[in-house]
Amino acid sequence: MHVLGTAGGNVLGASREVQIPLLAALLIGGCAAKARRALSARSIEAGIGPTAVFPLRLHRPVAIALCAGELALGGGLLLTAGPLAAGPLSAGPAAHAIRSATALLFGTAVGALHELRARQPDAGCGCFGDLSDTPVSWRVMTRSALLCAAAIAAIGVPPLHRPASAGQALTMLAVAATELVVIAILSPEVGEIMVRLGHSEPCEVRRVPVSRTLAALHGSAPWRHYQHHLLATDPIDVWREECWQYAAFPGTVDGRRVEVVFAVYLEPRHPQVRAGIADPGAGARSRDDSAAAFPLPVSN
């Protein structure tokens, strides 16, 4: 029983100590992500979700205060955590104040997220900039509540020091890893990161220069097959639909004027090429066989 109590105390102690660097990393990372988004959007209040619960004129000052507060608290946690902290930053009053303020920040965040979810259900929390665009859910609110509890647990922790033994180091690592896994489970941002890492642009939205498409066409078997029928090697029309780029050329078959149409699939290597021949008047006739010209079908 005494052994179990000692082991439990070690784990509890390790849990409390691990919170400080974890909270500091999350706070500084959150501020950095928000700043990056503000720089890219050239708008301080762009996408910072909780500011939406404030009046419009307060969006900018609240956004600035939020990011500055996160940075200050994250830095303060680190500065008051070590054994070398001295003077006004020594462990004790300053550390107590900073850790209490951190708990207050995360506790307030739970309420703000709940309010944001009620007012703007489709708004993201903006916690980590661009990565936090998914609507606020119970996962995000639970994460904030967990971090609030972590900050409360860190109040009163003595200055951090190196682990006294390998066992203690392993205990701290295990606790930190467990907490990171729990935070990851509660974080939609992790899914967004995985999507970005595994992303490759679908061919329907891939920009492909026409010159590259025509070069692929000129090297294809259908081009060599129909080349002798063409009256010009410059296309009279080029257009695109989804993953196919089309090019139409004037031509002749058995003395008859035709249009030779090629379709090139927009894939980077050895694109598929298909061809067809159309009557120059095909598709330009309406059901009554009269030549349909501009304007398009009118309403009256």
């Binding site: 890219s40 959007a41 050239r42 708008s43 209040e45 762009a46 996408g47 939406a52 419009l56 489709d122 661009d130 665009d133 999507v195 970005r196 595994g198 992303h199 490759s200 679908p202 061919c203 329907e204 939205v205 920009r207 492909v208 220069p209 026409v210 009279i236 029309d237 080029v238 257009w239 695109r240 639909e241 989804e242 993953c243 089309y246 139409a248 249009e259 149409v261 090629f262 379709a263 298909r274 061809a275 067809g276 021949i277 159309a278 095909a282 598709g283 330009a284 309406s286 059901r287 009554d288 349909a292 010209a293 501009f294 304007p295 398009l296 079908p297 009118v298 309403s299 009256n300």
Partner: protein
């Protein structure tokens, strides 16, 4: 007002741009028939003989089309007479006919000379809804002067527009558009006046981002899931012929459709690249109507907005189609609502 000299210069600017080769523009092209033929040329490659693109381009008999566009020639308690491109059109009014002229009004309040669009009951020459002098401006605010705004409508062809916010509507518009300042987006519906739009109602809520920094679209791997759901909106005809059935598509291939000088990225909904003349099927999820329509222009302004339509439920973010007024009404949309929940699929 000095802005009047700047209005509607999009046409002249566009002609200069059109001197470049390979620039798709249905309105100002020397050979617009080539867009009509693209579906047939595609069919020559893939051997498709679907009726979708045939019916899309065919002239529909008058009685088959529910929407009539024209100028009001006369209004009586039972009949409204419109001057249309094909001549005079007499449409019966019923006690259920509703009209809009700045607000819901009795049909008798329509004025001679009003540009009107009428939706008739199915297979009957009886007016269901009439919209008179309705207009819409959506785009980026360039300059402001009190309640007067100069708006960039998103492309060289559409040019710029002047919007005057009616005093009685200022508060209502400011609630949805709190930032009436240069660089931010606006989308308002109102009465079309000579040279400007008298804004009466917001068409959506103002996005929090500036127009030159819209949010990035979601990342998609594999293939783009179709059909795509989102919001369908409408735009004024401008240089387009009256009664045109079609849509401005927010994702025209920039390689063959002339990179728009106002381009700011792909927009917030991922749509497959298409070209002018491509056929898409648009379904109005609220009215349960669908149609195959041709892409007739570039929906650059639609690309800037990431709003949702809440006419029947909440649509996913993003504008997937910017319909002509006739197409919007034909699909069962009400112009004063500004949008309907829609799905878009490639018709071929």
């Amino acid at each position: 007002m000095t802005w009047r000299r700047m209005q509607s210069h999009g046409g002249q600017v566009r002609r200069k741009a059109d001197l470049r080769q390979g620039c798709d523009d249905l309105i100002e092209s020397a050979s617009p028939a080539r867009y009509i033929r693209r579906s047939a040329l595609r069919a020559a490659v893939f051997g498709q003989r679907g009726s979708a693109y045939h019916s899309m381009w065919d002239r529909s008999p008058v009685i088959g089309r529910a929407t009539v566009t024209g100028q009001v020639a006369d209004v009586s308690p039972h009949i409204v007479v419109l001057h249309t491109a094909q001549g005079e059109q007499r449409i019966t009014l019923s006690p259920c006919t509703t009209a809009w002229r700045g607000a819901a009004v009795p049909p008798a309040w329509l004025r001679t000379g009003d540009v009107a669009i009428v939706r008739r009951h199915a297979k009957r020459n009886v007016a269901e809804r009439i919209w008179a002098q309705i207009g819409r401006v959506s785009g980026t605010i360039i300059e402001t002067d009190g309640t007067a705004l100069l708006i960039d409508k998103g492309s060289a062809r559409r040019g710029r527009a002047i919007v005057l916010i009616d005093k009685s509507s200022l508060r209502k518009i400011q609630v949805r558009f709190p930032r009436l300042e240069p660089g931010y987006l606006i989308d308002v519906i109102g009465l079309r006046q000579q040279g400007y739009l008298q804004a009466l109602a917001p068409a959506t809520a103002q996005p929090p981002y500036r127009a030159d920094h819209p949010p990035a679209p979601p990342l998609i791997s594999g293939r783009i899931p179709v059909p795509v759901s989102g919001t369908a909106v409408w735009h004024e005809p401008g240089a387009e012929p009256p009664g045109l059935l079609g849509l401005a598509y927010p994702a025209l291939d920039p390689e063959t459709n002339c990179e728009d000088p106002h381009a700011t990225g792909p927009g917030c909904v991922r749509l497959p690249y298409l070209s002018v003349g491509s056929a898409v099927r648009i379904r109005n999820e609220c009215a349960g109507r669908s149609a195959v329509l041709p892409v007739t222009s570039c929906g650059a302004a639609a690309r800037l907005f990431c709003d949702r339509c809440v006419e029947c439920g909440t649509s996913p973010r993003g504008r997937i189609a910017d319909l002509t007024m006739t197409a919007f009404v034909e699909l069962g949309g009400n112009l004063e609502d500004g949008c309907f929940n829609a799905t878009l699929a490639i018709a071929n």
